[in-house]
Amino acid sequence: MYVIYLIVFGFILTAVLGLIASWIDRKVTARLQYRKGPPFLQPFIDIIKLMGKETLIPRGASKAIFIIAPVIGFGSVVIVSTLLWANNSNLFNSFLGDIIVIVYLLAIPSISIMIGGFASGNPLARVGASREMKLLLGYELPFVLAILVPIIKSGFSLRLSEILTTQTQTGAFAGYASGILALIVCIAVMQAKLGLIPFDIPEAETEIMSGWMIEYSGTGLAIFRLMKNMLLFTLPFFLIILFLGGLRLSGIGILYSVLKYVVLLVIIVVIRNTNPRLRIDQAMRFFWGPVTGVAVIAVILALLGK
């Protein structure tokens, strides 16, 4: 049963939806700049083209880790999306503590970026990887605090299915003061996890020339791109399950589900297009200062039942 979820939902469906999301991202970005934007199939063509290109391994790199790093990150994203789809479509697929598993697995793409960057032996890639590490330290604390809110709201349950059933009974958690604060925190964290402007510090094109991925080419780059694009679907999906009551895939519910996802995606794109890049110390100060403060307030409000 889980194998079907892994292949059909976890990999194929998430990859297709993620690539479509990345096309929407590029198209909306282009329209915001009064440009025309890429054709619809461009992300698919890009990935297939990169698969067919030569893979170069730099002389100073540690070969095995350099090759295996994208696969680790990609695998963890596939497992996360499998767990999310399994929980979303059938509530009995849940197990105790799956939300903790997902929080851990969502940190692994960043770790694969780090080990890939350090293994490539390029000074710019090392700078990018060390920035990714600092950014990870910055956003994990508010992320975990914000995820505490739905856990408290659903009566201290660590199952995704119980979070979903509580929301069908009492309405989505985003309707509460604590829920909406936690959702705002999660959107800021999501921007950093996706590595988009204003938090694209690890891969800043103009100063360190795409940072950690500079030495990647061919299949490795394709897997990293696919990982990023799948995260562009998986992270909003996780937030929808936690705060907005999950995706319902029957009848008129489909339209409502698409609306939830598109709203989150458009928020991501608009933030990305209206902000300059922060320095790494500014990003750390932002996450450990105001964002953590808001997350703590949200947790206190949730404990008070608001």
Binding site: R35, G37, P38, K49, K53, T55, M209, I214, S217, G218
Partner: protein, 113 residues
């Protein structure tokens, strides 16, 4: 060339983006004549690019060495150093010319020209 990325000309409608490093790129644009120093670097850059990679010569300088044709420092033209797939003339070429060259290159790669 930068004009092609701006709203008026927007080369992204053909799916092209500016790549930060030659390892991510498919097309190498050469916009100047190769002198004794830069020819070595150009060769190294071409060897670093993951194949298949196409080379586009932009402007009169890279096509025929332009005003440097009699210079002691520019002994060989570009297409004697690395294989060139498309030539875009002009000094400097207009953005429309570059876009037309890019479209023709796509057609050439698809095998329809």
């Amino acid at each position: 060339m930068l004009d092609c990325l701006t709203p008026r000309f927007d080369i992204e409608r053909f799916g092209m983006l500016l790549a930060p490093s030659i390892k991510h790129a498919d097309v190498l644009l050469v916009t100047g004549s190769c002198n004794r120093k830069s020819a070595i670097r150009l060769k190294r850059l071409y060897e670093q690019a993951p194949k298949p990679c196409v080379v586009v010569a932009i402007g009169e300088c890279s096509l025929s060495r332009g005003m440097f044709i009699h210079s002691y420092n520019c002994p060989i033209p570009l297409d004697k150093i690395i294989p060139v797939d498309a030539y875009i003339p002009g000094c400097p070429p207009k953005p429309e010319a570059i876009i037309s060259g890019a479209v023709k290159l796509i057609q050439k790669l698809k095998g329809t020209l």
